[in-house]
Symmetry: C3
């Protein structure tokens, strides 16, 4: 049983997000850009996407945050990522890295390593396997899965955060957010997140939106994960199949405000 | 309050569209091609999309209209756009231009200028900011927003139409359609259009489908905007959140015929 | 009237699919990759997509099946397809070919011919026009449409299968699956399949998932088509418009097990 009795004190960022409408530039994969854009949109952020290195700097100039998604990386997009990160670094625009399937091919591993060695990311968001691979830990051979071995997962997330001097959000049954020292856990969610392709991509860009507000990165990342997980778990209370759930989840994000988030949290904590 | 008591006399094109099934080639952005394709499909048009300059001419040969969407332009797609427009010009297939975020980067501005100087478009569809940028008007510094300054917006749309000898559809709270002289306003819609990414892209290709029927371009563009706006506003009567609304909107487009469109128009005019 | 009294004896693959979770690599078109990925996901398969020839071999190594989709083919993707098929051939990973609009341009015809002459596919899935074009039959000039001329369609499918020594799934009002000799017909479905763009692409990758289980290819292809068609027809019993239908269709696929599939089959056969 998951201990849901975790309190996150301040739920003020969602109101700020809807007021500030941060622009998030996502260098996106080809599979789920519409999900990412709509996820940002329903929360009040403004999505932009771009494929041309020629306009990377101009795009970063109008953005409050950047997300680099490794999902369908290829040579041209690698140039676009470099151009966007060069500009983000120079203009001090915070960036989130989503290392999709980074251990799935030596090409992805190479691109991920290059990006992480050249650029400073404010946050890395991935699942346990991806974060372990970046941390240099042979996670699968340890037989840890996301449903157990909680302590080990926390250590892996911390090691990854320390290695890259960044905040890590390792998302799964329980999201583990850490700056390498402090650890915040978000014990909400639904198995239906894994059934709809693109929810991870969406969360990475939503984290970027929260970070783009300009406050503490650990707090911003945690609140993004909390709103996301609560909206999804609340949706699963009534919608038990993937399409119905995804529609309700997006509509929950659209309606999310401090009051609704608090009521979800209270309601869902009761269940344990 | 918006004056909705605008009468558009002839609502006959929707029946013609469902009968003629025009093929629309969209050189699409990477974010919303599925929305564009499904929007065309539910209205009875046939969407085709292509990325290879090598097949641009063959694709244009089987199309009744072409849409060029600037959304995620890059070097290879620029070649595809040129190849498609060369063929469209030669074969006299009408084309619609959607100048997505054309003022967002100097690269986009350059590509937009090149396309507009080399090719004659039947219609340009964009929001107020995009149309103003093409018209050469510093719209934002004038503080005009889509909710007011109606007269100014009309002048901007007319100036853009005159500059490029084309029909302009400036879409927003009230859509303004003009050939530079005559002006038709479509005072329907819903704020939820802006929440779902890709509705603008979809409308541009739907306008192309209506123009592809072969009649008057100003009339065709106006009817496309009218059907689109009414279907969306009617959906918003019952569906108040983005996912529910978008599903209902697409289903409304699927069911739209002269009778239903007229009943929506009567019903929605009553509300003022 | 369609004779729906066709019995497919063994409905055991769906349970095996949910247990084995085969990984399917799709070299996808740009329009419907999210539909393909979600269709695989709700059935318990694992979708991966990739654009870089550099990682094609690594991706094929973790896949149980590959799908090559011609939908928005261009020069770079042609290289990716070749690299993926080289690896699939070498590693003996079965592949499905979806010849989207292969007769629509001489470029597509050329790419399709090249792929089919260089590589052995386990299955080709297409509509009647596509399969006829591959078989070298001028189908349209014979005036056959998918609603009639059943006998002719079967011969076309058989000829295509014989020519390429493969299983062919010609999908339409009645799906015709053949290895060139044996013929299995799946007489279920709904006109709404044609209204939602991407259902064909989705089916091709779902067929790959079933084939990836390792059994008889003709049987696997037939069962994939059966589950797909039944889930869609059952959805159309209650959901009459495209969005509602598509949501229900995906949710039906998610819930499909042997028992539900049998009950759909019994229910839908009664209707004739």
């Amino acid at each position: 049983m998951i201990n849901r009795r975790v309190v996150i004190h301040r739920l003020r960022l969602i109101a700020q997000l809807r007021k500030q409408n941060p622009v998030v530039l996502t260098v996106a994969n080809m599979v789920t850009p519409a999900d990412v854009a709509n996820g940002l949109n329903v929360l009040g952020a403004s999505p932009i996407m771009s494929k041309a290195p020629e306009e990377a700097e101009d795009m970063v100039k109008i953005a409050q945050a950047v997300t680099i998604n490794l999902g369908t990386i290829e040579a041209e997009q690698r140039k676009e990522m470099a151009a966007a990160m060069d500009a983000a670094q120079f203009l001090e625009v915070p960036a989130v890295f989503d290392p999709v399937a980074c251990a799935g091919s030596s090409y992805r591993t190479e691109v991920a390593d290059e990006l992480l060695s050249k650029y400073q990311f404010a946050c890395i968001r991935g699942n346990a396997g991806e974060i372990a691979a970046l941390a240099g830990i042979n996670w699968q051979s340890h037989g840890i899965d996301a449903g157990s071995g909680d302590g080990d997962l926390t250590k892996i997330a911390q090691k990854c955060a320390q290695k890259y001097h960044t905040v890590v959000a390792m998302t799964g049954v329980v999201d583990i957010i850490t700056d390498g020292q402090k650890v915040i856990k978000v014990p909400f969610g639904s198995p239906l997140f894994a059934v709809h392709v693109g929810t991870g991509d969406m969360l990475s860009s939503i984290i970027a939106a929260f970070i783009g507000l300009g406050g503490d990165v650990l707090e911003a990342t945690s609140q993004a994960c909390l709103v996301f997980a609560l909206a999804g778990q609340a949706a699963a209370e009534t919608a038990k199949t993937p399409s119905r759930w995804y529609n309700q989840f997006l509509d929950n994000l659209y309606q999310a405000d401090d009051q609704l988030i608090e009521s979800w949290q209270k309601e869902l904590q009761k269940e344990d």
